[in-house]
Symmetry: D3
Subunit: 318 residues, 6 copies
């Protein structure tokens, strides 16, 4: 079965794919005809597709997020590859294919990721900090296993948020060893809490963000997570003016570093400075790693990456 990532113009192919998006449109013909405007994907990537002359039955058979068996061919449209679907039917249980095989996901099983995060939380020595972290984790727990870390920017796949946290925790652990003046409890808590409100900021299913939520647009995950910490303190009977609550709020509020990047205050504790750079480094290197992994090996350059000053990455031949 041809992986989406490997498809080239003029290819013909047949196989199972996911209808990631599907919209019914009409041609300019008189009378106009219905067709499907589709985004077809598998775990290796996605491509736009057209299914012409959709019948009334078709319109009741095919839906977004459904698995299908497709026969089609690839051609160039406005210099980008596009699929023309010539035949399509829904997958059946007999086909033995499963939705989760067709979406991009973190390279580590998300249950394992969540377990590592829980263990790290349990390993926080300070009881009050640990309980605040636990309170916030509970707010998202069911969603932590599958949420992406962003809409498109970085870690935009199933389990991406948890994967981002786990990688940051590794980097944080290294830094605490290299620079013992850093408070490990605070840094762990900061890493777990910094993006903890993302599941409330974005609407996502199967690792795919459809939109920002109203709360996400009007408050944002930064102020939201900061308020969760206060809420936790109130509920757990920890004074909201204590240095711990102050320190945790500061970690969350400052982690985007600059006002124009959404942080109302700038990092002013050692751990807040560390958190910002751990977050930035992990996000940017993941963008690079994912861009290289999803670019065909035959290409010298990845596509441009918005989060890296809109630069592409070059594969040195060394």
């Amino acid at each position: 079965m041809t992986l989406i990532k490997q498809m080239k113009p003029q290819d013909e192919f047949e196989g199972f794919y996911l209808l990631k998006e599907l919209e019914i449109r009409q041609t300019n013909a008189t009378p106009p005809k219905d067709y499907f405007d589709i985004v077809l994907c598998d775990s290796s990537g996605q491509l736009p597709a057209k299914f012409w002359d959709a019948s009334a039955t078709d319109k009741e058979t095919f839906f977004a997020m459904g698995l299908v068996k497709v026969r089609g061919m690839v051609h160039l449209y406005r210099e980008k590859p596009q699929i023309k679907i010539t035949k399509m039917r829904p997958a059946t249980p007999a086909d033995g294919v499963s939705l989760t095989d067709f979406i991009r996901s973190a390279p580590i099983d998300s249950k394992d990721l969540v377990r590592i995060i829980e263990q790290t939380k349990d390993g926080i020595g300070d009881e009050e900090i640990r309980r605040i972290v636990a309170y916030c984790l509970e707010k998202v727990e069911d969603r932590l296993a599958h949420y992406p870390a962003a809409k498109t920017h970085h870690h935009a796949y199933y389990g991406g948020l948890a994967y981002h946290m786990v990688r940051m925790l590794e980097l944080g652990e290294f830094l605490c060893r290299q620079r013992p003046f850093l408070n490990a409890d605070l840094l762990k808590a900061g890493i777990i809490l910094h993006d903890i409100a993302k599941p409330d900021e974005m609407n996502a299913e199967m690792g795919i963000v459809s939109d920002y939520s109203n709360t996400g647009k009007l408050i944002g995950h930064i102020a939201l997570a900061s308020a969760w910490i206060v809420e936790a303190a109130v509920k757990l009977g920890i004074p909201t003016e204590s240095e711990k609550v102050l320190g945790l709020q500061h970690l969350v509020l400052s982690h985007h570093n600059l006002g124009e990047w959404g942080s109302p205050v700038q990092p002013q504790t050692a751990e807040a400075v560390a958190l910002h750079f751990i977050d930035a480094m992990d996000a940017k290197l993941q963008m690079v790693e994912d861009a290289l992994a999803t670019t065909p090996d035959s290409e010298e350059w990845t596509p441009m990456i918005r989060g890296l000053e809109n630069k592409a990455i070059y594969r040195l031949k060394i």
Copy 2:
């Protein structure tokens, strides 16, 4: 008694003033001699002053924020007027002078200002919004009567914060009449809440800010007030995800308009847009009004005003 504002180089004067700041320093002489580096003020303004040859007794007699009777003269130092104090004694009850006469304060009695704010709060029709506003007002009530609205930027005097609120409430009322699509309850609440956490952000006495608090630096009044709203909701049993809590948080979070000015989100409700402009207009016009009022009438130009792109204001002769 000569008002500070009217003092000109070569003037000699005698009268009561406030020692707004006082530091003991030493001359370069051998052996070094002690002297006082002073900021002398009354309600019309302030000037730097020197008191040379401070004796041991003097050092136990004079303190910052003390009222004193002073004889002195004005001269130019690095092109700015400075006072040389030739004689000084502490004020006594017999002098019949009172601290509050010597500090700048809002032109309306601060008790009246607080009363107007309370009445406005009571006039909020929506009960949940009213109770959240009341909860937050209680947090600062004793300080609302005397806090300034900022360290130096605008309304930097006794009662300045409450005065800023009241003037904004007048402008808000006008706008709600001019544009009935605005929700008056929300706008009133937004005006009262937008700077409500300033007393926690800054340390101030007698309308004079000495410094930002740790909380002020690490969280800032914007995220702080937003957290107070959540705290109020938790304590009052109002769902934290309700549209009202969302709307109030958004008003507070967005009122500085841009990320680089400290707002993690931009105004995205009609009332939030209105609040930002009401706040900006009142602050800027007050800067202009205060600069003109404290500049001698003989001067065509006020000093430069930092909050107005560092421009001075010209008095047109019309």
Copy 3:
């Protein structure tokens, strides 16, 4: 008759509309066929439309800015609604429809708006200021009744410019009452003059700006209005170096506040600071009000508004 604002995909409709724009295009067919690329509007909004297979007669019958009776249906094209016109004929006198019913216009009759502006001008106490304002008003008088205040930014409709002025005058009157140190004559004059040269800056008909004029591009309404004031002074025998001419020019030149927004000098008189904020507040709140009014009630969010940092406005459900 279905209002444009209420049209949804799949709707079929019949009624009178305005051909706001009409261009003859050709299909890719061999031989190519002519069709009309149309913008159809009424006072509630506008939508793109196609009229296929335009005959030679059609091409001589239909023109931009003509009223037509249309039968059509709405469909989605590139995720935006578009109209397919199936039948169309020009409106006739017998239809009893009038062009002005089909364009967006200010909510107050523009004759009333002009009258208020004239009365305000007449109420300026200072004779020289009044005569300069009168001179400039005469330059645009016939156009003041119908010009929009901008191409798309704000008040972009029939009478928008006059409506903007009148609303600003109300706000200015409030401020002069709230802060009596402001010179009311200057502020009124500044409000009337600040955008007075817009009719020379833009080419507009029926409240619709087709383009900026050469003068608009090469000089701009700010420097243009400033030059009109000088011209008025020369013609009326008022010294061009007088404080009044200086003050009026300054009001106009500085009202965009910053160099990057087109003002060669920044506000440096009390009235100039006030004018800038009155202008900004009225423009922004009108954008919000108009965006909410033209967005279907069923939508939580308006479209993005360029003049508001490209943010959409949310309708709080309170």
Copy 4:
């Protein structure tokens, strides 16, 4: 006689100099003593100087802009050279020194510069353009001979403005020869008019700007010169909407290129683009030439130059 430019710490000297600035100050001694805070200059440069123990007679004898015979020595104060004046008397006619020998001035006699400018104006072929230029020249004519082009930025000396114009005219002439599509009449007029209002923008005497004028601050030389063009047109009966008046205004308004540099519109005619670059190139190269000329030959680097991104210029040893 030692030139200011050549003075080094520890030098003792005697000679004639100009008291460019003089202020009476008082020491911290008890009782305080008067002293003069002075800027001493000759045509090669300037240095700060102190004259201690100024007597009552001294205070009636010495004034700013007076020529004096000085005996003094140079020492370092805060890492910069400063003069200590040990003896000083006013110059007398018998000394045979003249004020103009002691100020910096353009390297060409300013009468010659004005003559060249007048001749260039007379050489403008288009009569209307020529008459407008002549009208504006008349407004400043007596001042053109001595005004500097800026306060400190560039050409800040006697005749600097005229010298800047003449050099730009040479460059303009070269460009018109190199690129004949440029309209020489327009370019000449643009060069003469672009800074023509500077004498109204700044208060200057003997090539030294003491301050910006009120008009300079509130209108600026750009909008001012643009208004002069309109005034000229009105007075000379040339239609203010003509392409010539439009073109000349555009040249003046756009010559600073960007809004943040004070131009309300950007260059949009060929000559306006040329004018901006001629102006920038001449100003910057003159800054470099003057900085090198006033820096002692023993120094590898000039002082930092504000107008060149605050960079110093290095003298390559080639």
Copy 5:
């Protein structure tokens, strides 16, 4: 034969043109049909074109950069003119047309340009500077005759780079005469070297840049030319730390003036300041000249020019 620049909608024409770009695409029809998406050009300009129903033979007959005889008509597509090719055949020797007649090129023969550059190089008095310049010229010599100076920004045509150099050398010569303190050897060398690495930065054929090279993206012509100077010094036995090598590197490294424009250091020698302005002035004026020359005389305005703050140029009717 109709020049591309003169083609207007509805025109029918026949003549020889260059297939600057050609891609095979497919229509949405079932089954899809092949067509050519073409950019057709001659020396006066270029237009997009379609050739429908491309046969298998056509696909083997027509290629990018081939000369063809075309019959076609012009129509509007999305408000821009587009060509519909109705008949097409490859040019044959018998047609007597030559590729170089169909591409844009500098107005002076590129052999002459190269000769002038070589002569200028030979005229550099300092032997070491001359040999370094010669070494770098050799690296590009065969390409200097045809490379453009940029992809689209300016001088984007056959011989554009050499033409840019020659024009700059003229301007440099004028400046050295006007300001003799400039070192002519350095300035000549700087002009020849500043863009000398462009042929390694971009892939170009017939004056048309297809893409930036990997070296161009990863190093850029500025650091590249600076390294060539070091390489030259090493190979020629000139000390790499000498003032000459330092001065030449500095000229190249600083010529874009600011970090955000790609220069790692800012101009800090007199010649480096001159070089930056010579480069900027020549590039911008050429943009203006070329935009006016390629815009039909009937148009008042050229298209917007990216390199001129995205402004269009107006043709004053004087």
Copy 6:
């Protein structure tokens, strides 16, 4: 012996210190008296100091970078502590103090640091990369042991440059383990080379930078190191256009990430992205660590840190 870091106003002390800076100045007295303006330091920090009434002998006895035995007292001058030296003599061999005990230095012996760097270099698998790194290391070898990494920004002490490299190498090693797609040879080489030209950019002795060199100002360490790589390739017979030379140059050229921070190109290989973040993270965390270490424990806040958006760091009391 009192450490500089622990000195508080009113302290009297005696001990050995380093005269980091010493300048002879003169008082305003008549006749003026000589005094020394001094910066006194030990390994814990530095303070300004005055030594009044310097005799002729004193002026021949004391010099910058000399060790002295000092008796003095601390007082406040302009709100900052300053030392008044009452007695001072040069240290003698008998005192048994050594210069290196009085300067700040990296916490690891610089010989060990250099050894680690050499070993890392030897561990680079690719021979050509290893030889280029070795060539560049040789250029600075004697200076690598003691140079600081910057003038004041970060690692501004003896051995700071080598310490910065070693810490970055640790971080790089961690990242290569965490993300195996990174090329370890390239990353190691990039870390060693990125600041390798700093010793040529700055003039430093004993870890104290006195100034930038001419080469540093005119070329900068980024372009300089890039040229060294080319020089190495030329000398070692490695093709300058090879992917390895390209990759190494790119690492060095892009490591400041943005043009405004001095990089002419932005990171476009995986290792270049990693290098930038490793460099930034190590520099910033070291600033934090050093600021906390040199701030008295009694202080909640460090001084403001220029490299951290001018923010101070707070010591959370957790």
